[in-house]
Amino acid sequence: MELLNVQHLRKSFGQLEAVKGVTFSVKKGESFGLLGPNGAGKSTTINMITGLFPPTSGSIFLHDIDVVKQPKQAQKRIGVVPQEIALYQEMSAWENLKFWGRIYGLNGSQLTRKVEEVLEIIGLSDRAKDKVSTFSGGMKRRVNIGAAILHNPELLIMDEPTVGIDPQSRNHILETVKQLNEEGMTVIYTSHYMEEVEYLCERIGIIDHGVVIASGTLKELREKMEDRSRIKLTIDGVKENAADINKVLAGHFSEKEFQFQDNQLIVFHKEPQLVLSELVHSVTETGTRITSVDIVEPNLESVFLHLTGRNLRD
């Protein structure tokens, strides 16, 4: 059953068109990832879906609720984890969760029970009475998530919930989200870390410059790569010798199978082991020096690179 349907979403800020016609849908119980580099338009898209501001054009439906026209109706069913920490620093984790729970309409013993349960989920029961301002970045992020799930939302929307935290907290958060999803909560997760999206999401949309350039399951996206791995050769003076290298490689590979990036030569191939020695040999013939060789299995990073010619992270 389709839970969320987003059609031809656009948003302009003055001259700048941040989102240029985004279309996707999310099924109930699914976990959907929105992967894109900084400034791709992830937050802008998310903010329209959560009803924070209306789109310039396009439609958003949650079940049959028109989010653009009735944001308050939709917001009851959506939990949002904003990109920034949206908590009162001078209040404790307990007080914050109680406050947000009340604002969502919970009260009495139901509220207390829910706050305790959420503290358990985010693993902060023992620090509940401490002020948020005394927490580490990772702990704050966890409370930030906790505040979004108090009212049992059907759809949990997370905007880069792991930005700038230590690996341990990050793992904890990923585990938590995975578990929530397994218990039936539908999740939309944005990130510019492909590992997170690969780990969590059944379906993925890749967004760049306000446009979804590819979407599908991880498997489908990998197929776009025709299952080709990447061979990354870091070469001294690759730029100066690009013409020479080009000439040597042209005999062995087609244009589409290799590209230059920064000080690297990248070659796409289904069976990297077979061509590696020949490749290294050819490149050294041009008189350049290879400083490292790396083989990467097909992943979202390579899909993005393949589609845009750029890395996800710069």
């Binding site: 009803g51 924070l52 501001f53 310039t56 904003p82 920490i85 949206a86 505040a147």
Partner: protein
């Protein structure tokens, strides 16, 4: 109900902030005390600039002291401020009724006798419903006169048994002496300043509250607030409620504090003072909410807030006494929360009853709610405006 939780959260955060807490409670009393100490001089300079007005007098006493009060104190001593006219009681009341005269006093038959024997005396103060600060001036002069006379007469009596020597009671000295040498406070003037300062402090608290509100608007929590069940009307109502409670607490502290510490008499109608205080706070906070809804950045508000309160405080009578302004300005400033509040407090201080100030209370609350409503409408339209 969610607005109540928002209000409660704001109160909690304010009371946790030690600096805010001290500014709220201790500062007003401190400043009023400092001003009170410096007060005598302040008033002397300003008395010169009171606009001259006519005081109607009915002297039923025709005694020694009523003559001193009317001829020496009012006529000669306050020549620059007051023009004296004598009437029969009936005519005086008629003139006031017809608004031909704004303030009058009726000196009761036993005035001199009672004063001389140290008993309580009575002078009836009559005025049009809306005379501004004039009755306060008259009242304070009469009170000071009544407080000083027994001492003066006792001193005179010691030296020269027999009749009171009129020459020894220089009216100007009378005022000065009661201000400087005796322990009694110049009630009328100090009353004025307590009310004026109190009102200004509340304005400043509103500015403080709105600053916090705008600061919150610039933070991610505001985004989260918008993503909950909270509607714009509940949001602004909650914000206002928190600030109203805060201001009301502060106002009560100022009123009770000045009363206990400096003997400031806020009038005989306690319910009137409380209800007016509440109404004023609603009015001022409503205006604050409107500003908080319209203005987006703390930087923007710092300028607008400072300027706005300074102008309101100055014209509303918190910096210089109201009576130096022409009457039309005094009338116009009734549309400022602080202007209306100060004028109503003065009325209460000069003995007005609860029923007499109800129009001001109603106007004050209505204005506050109107401001709030405009603020909500603005927020709703602002969101729609983002659809572009």
């Amino acid at each position: 109900m969610s607005f109540w939780w928002l209000a409660r959260k704001d109160l909690l955060l304010t009371f946790r902030d030690k600096k805010a807490f001290i500014t709220l409670i201790a500062m007003p009393l401190l400043l009023i005390a400092i001003l009170g100490a410096a007060f005598g001089n302040l008033m002397k300079d300003e008395e010169v600039s009171i606009k001259k007005f006519t005081l109607g007098v009915t002297d039923l006493d025709q005694g020694v002291l009523s003559k001193v009060l009317t001829d020496e104190v009012f006529k000669k001593g306050m020549e620059d401020q007051i023009k004296l006219q004598f009437f029969q009681e009936k005519d005086l009341l008629q003139k006031i009724k017809n608004h031909e005269l704004e303030v009058g006093i009726i000196i009761q038959p036993d005035f001199s006798k009672s004063l001389l024997s140290g008993e309580e005396t009575r002078i009836k103060l009559v005025s049009t419903p809306d005379p501004g600060v004039k009755p306060i001036i008259v009242q304070s002069v009469v009170e000071q006169f009544a407080q000083t006379i027994p001492i003066q007469t006792m001193l005179a009596a010691k030296q020269e048994t027999g009749a009171v020597q009129q020459e020894s009671i220089e009216p100007k000295d009378l005022i000065k002496e009661s201000t400087l040498s005796k322990k009694t406070k110049p009630a009328g003037s100090f009353q004025y300043y307590a009310a004026a300062m109190g009102v200004m402090f509340l304005l400043m608290t509103v500015v403080q509250g709105v600053t916090m509100m705008i600061r919150e608007k610039e933070e991610p929590v505001y985004q989260r607030l918008q993503l909950t069940n909270l509607t714009y009307s509940h949001y602004l109502l909650g914000k206002m409620m928190g600030l109203v409670i805060l201001c009301f607490i502060q106002a009560l502290i100022i009123i009770i504090g000045t009363n206990l510490l400096f003997d400031v008499n806020w009038g005989s109608s306690i319910s009137g003072v409380i209800i007016m205080t509440f109404a004023f706070v609603v009015n001022a906070c409503g205006l604050g909410m409107l500003a908080g809804a319209l203005i987006k950045t703390e930087k923007g508000f710092n300028v607008a807030g400072m300027l706005g309160t300074q102008i309101m405080a100055a014209l509303g009578g918190s910096m210089v006494p109201l009576y130096i302004f022409p009457d039309w300005i005094v009338s116009v400033t009734k549309f400022f929360p602080n202007g209306l509040a100060l004028q109503t407090y003065l009325k209460l201080m000069s003995g007005a009853k609860l029923t007499e100030i109800l129009p001001a209370v109603a106007g004050s609350i209505a204005l506050g709610l109107l401001f709030l409503a405009i603020g909500v409408i603005f927020l709703v339209f602002e969101r729609r405006g983002k659809y572009a």
